[in-house]
């Protein structure tokens, strides 16, 4: 016994619902917040969506390797080619910074802006406030849940992004800012770009460095203290990894899930790679000997596999000096370059999630 109102409502709802255009329906994207093997299948689907040419937001979330992330690490604000970034003070800025626990006041920000506009060396200035920085941050680190939880919008410093003139002198820009309050630090893109670029290194996510003779790292049994000039002084030399240890490590890696390929890099090939990576720095290459190079295993993971668990297990193995995890390092440098935050690994990518 349907009343006319019921019928009319039913028909109207059906018609309203039918206006959904199934053809343009965007497929659901799997959030990459918790990675597990169940997710893995779904992530592959999401990657297929990326290949099909979906929105860039999808790329940011579903990018399986470091490469996508590296592209994404440039926030929109930077697409114009920022060359210098003036990070302003936040309350939570580290104690070593000149901020002294105070955020930059409005007056200070205005003074800095005026100084920048007056500078002959600066071609353009763009102000990025905390909210915008946070938006960018969320996009870039969507894959890193623990970091998203750790960083609040107020932790991200607001910044001025500068482009200098062609013949502009960067030192003069820094000079003109000297003595102004409210500045946490000034980052120079040209300086951070000298970071070595290992072309092939991108596809290897984990590097397991082995102990070499005389290593000072506690993981190798060595000990060191910080000397007067801030240089580490070895007080007890550690032992190099034994052949048995190396074999055990290799066996362990080969038995681990998610490992696609393992490569052992001996001192000679490590030295070759080192020369390539630092070919612009002749003095450094000349001062380094083949014997200084640590041996390492390089591990390639299957796509979208979270290697965090492997990293913490490998760190515990005897004979292992250090384990580096590329996605984690990418996150760290993206965080430093774009947001002026220097955080330890334990915060950027805590182990044992």
């Amino acid at each position: 016994m349907n009343s006319p109102v019921e019928d009319r409502l039913r028909e109207a709802l059906v018609e309203a619902g039918a206006t959904v255009d199934i053809g343009t329906l965007r497929p659901l994207r799997v959030p990459e917040r918790r990675r597990s093997r169940v997710d893995f299948r779904l992530v592959t689907v999401a990657v297929a969506v990326v290949l099909a040419g979906a929105a860039t937001a999808v790329v940011l979330r579903a990018g399986p390797g470091a490469e996508d992330r590296a592209v994404a690490a440039d926030p929109p604000a930077q697409s114009g080619g920022t060359e210098m970034t003036v990070f302003l003070c936040t309350k939570s800025a580290p104690k070593e910074s000149p901020c002294q626990g105070r955020a930059a006041s409005r007056e200070q920000v205005r003074t800095i802006e005026r100084a920048l506009h007056q500078s002959q060396q600066v071609a353009s200035v763009l102000f990025v406030d905390q909210a915008t920085a946070y938006e960018n941050f969320k996009k870039i680190f969507a894959h890193n849940t623990s970091l998203m939880e750790e960083i609040k919008v107020t932790d991200l410093p607001a910044s001025f992004r500068l482009k200098t003139r062609h013949d502009g002198d960067r030192r003069q820009v820094k000079e003109s800012l000297r003595g102004l309050g409210g500045i946490q630090h000034v980052a120079d893109q040209a300086e951070s770009d000298v970071r070595p670029q290992t072309e092939a290194g991108r596809s290897w996510q984990i590097s397991v460095f082995l102990c070499s003779k005389g290593a000072s790292l506690p993981s190798c049994g060595g000990e060191s203290v910080t000397g007067k000039n801030g240089e580490p002084v070895v007080t007890k030399e550690g032992k190099g990894a034994t052949v048995a240890q190396k074999m055990a490590i290799q066996k362990l890696i080969e038995s681990m899930p998610g490992v696609e390929e393992v490569l052992f890099e001996d001192q000679a090939s490590a030295f070759k790679n080192f020369q390539k990576a630092f070919k612009d720095n002749e003095a450094l290459v000349k001062a380094t000997k083949v014997e200084d190079m640590p041996e390492r295993f390089r591990i390639r993971l299957t796509a979208a596999f979270d290697g965090q668990g492997l990293v913490s297990e490998l760190k515990r193995q005897p004979g292992v000096a250090q384990v580096l995890y590329q996605p984690c390092m990418d996150d760290r440098s993206a965080l430093a370059d774009n947001f002026g935050l220097l955080l330890p690994d334990s915060k950027v990518c805590p182990a044992g999630k």
Partner: protein, 155 residues
């Protein structure tokens, strides 16, 4: 949980569309609900409960959208499919009903949609909306009466 979304994706978008009025926002709401429930998927083993859970997540998302819109238009306003601007999509008669539905209180609007679009029984409507079955029943009755009055019918 993922399979529920795959199976009911279109249906969920329709539900959201009826609530918020435009497809783009509706899709966003469903995507958001998917992302959220995805995190807790391990906790839900019961298939029937899961669908109700997902539906209520979508409804919640719609409420947030409407609340946000009521205060300030963050994004360019997209006219609802049943507005005069999109007359091409729906007949005049239907549009009138949708406009009347839209003016009802939130609970009545939701209950009526779940009943007359998805044909859900009282119990499922109650689970989706987080109210009791009897409240769902009376909300539907009151909503229907209000709708009749708004449309000038005497049933």
């Amino acid at each position: 949980m993922a399979s529920i979304f795959a199976e009911h994706h279109v249906g969920l978008v329709r539900l959201a569309l009826i609530m918020v009025g435009d497809q783009a926002t509706a899709e966003d709401v469903v995507q958001e609900a998917f992302a959220r429930t995805h995190a807790g998927r391990a906790r839900l083993r019961d298939g029937d409960k899961a669908l109700a859970y997902v539906r209520s997540a979508v409804l919640n998302g719609c409420r947030s959208v409407l609340r946000r819109r009521a205060t300030v238009f963050r994004r360019p306003y997209e006219p609802p499919v049943w507005s005069a601007e999109s007359a091409a999509l729906m007949g005049e008669e239907r549009r009138e009903v949708m406009l009347a539905l839209r003016r009802l209180p939130r609970r009545q609007r939701e209950a009526l949609t779940l009943r007359y679009y998805f044909d859900l029984p009282d119990q499922e409507i109650a689970e989706t909306m987080g109210i009791s079955a009897s409240t769902a029943r009376s909300t539907i009755a009151r909503g229907l009466a209000a709708l009749g009055r708004a449309l000038g019918e005497d049933s």
